[in-house]
């Protein structure tokens, strides 16, 4: 999986992009978030309030219950503020 982080999530994690081989048994976005949040203080800070985090799978908006696959591009970001 290609993982992308934007805005203050990118800053807290310290990188905007990384790759991760999907661990066996990880099936949903929620499980990926739990996995990432446990990786260290930067990740924990980025994911501390999942209620405000948006996720996109392969550049389309998705939900925390959405299924994930190993080839996916999965992006996490705070609510958008463009326009």
């Amino acid at each position: 999986m290609k993982l992308l982080y934007f805005a203050w999530m990118r800053q807290r994690i310290g990188t905007g992009e990384e790759t991760l081989t999907k661990p066996d048994g990880m099936a949903t976005v929620a499980e990926l978030i739990a996995h990432l949040a446990a990786r260290g203080p930067g990740y924990a800070a980025a994911f501390e309030n999942p209620a405000v985090i948006k996720v996109a799978i392969n550049q389309d908006y998705a939900d925390f219950t959405s299924p994930i696959a190993d080839g996916d591009e999965i992006a996490f970001f705070p609510p958008v503020t463009g326009g």
Partner: protein, 148 residues
């Protein structure tokens, strides 16, 4: 047509590209969004980050959605990214229709959508440091009123 770009845009040039030589357009609405001074703190600049790839896809989708909902003869969305200063343009939306209500509604719809769904994030730079702009509940409410 949509563009995601760092460069400034020229409203009159964009308008000409959409409408020159056409006689079927009766109503043209343009919306320009600009960086403005904050009330409280002196704003030096604002930097817009975006999600290359997803931004373009989402903008194309919403432009198609507007074309489906309203009888538009032409439309244009330009959204800038990068570092912008007060007075600089951020976003341009143009909608052209035979009738004014369609042009007004479609432009308003596109802007409400851009505010709540286009993957851009603004960080403001003032004398006290950098602050990520927070999303506004009123923007979500404005977008919700168009339904899905």
């Amino acid at each position: 047509m949509i563009s995601v770009q760092a460069e400034p845009f020229d409203l009159s040039r964009e308008l000409a590209l959409l409408t020159d030589g056409r006689t079927d357009i009766g109503a043209i609405v343009t919306f320009t969004g600009r960086v403005r001074d904050l009330g409280e703190a002196f704003l030096k600049a604002m930097t817009l980050e975006h999600y290359p790839g997803m931004t373009e896809r989402q903008l194309e989708e919403i432009e198609n959605e507007a074309q489906t909902r309203w009888p538009l003869q032409a439309s244009r969305i330009i959204h800038r990214y990068g570092r912008l200063e007060p007075g600089d343009d951020i976003v341009l939306v143009i909608t052209c229709s035979a009738h004014r209500q369609a042009a007004f509604e479609a432009a308003s719809f596109l802007m409400d959508w851009l505010k709540t769904k286009a993957p851009f994030w603004k960080v403001e730079e003032t004398e006290t440091g950098e602050t990520w702009v927070e999303a506004k509940a009123e923007d979500d409410a404005a977008a919700d009123k168009w339904g899905k």
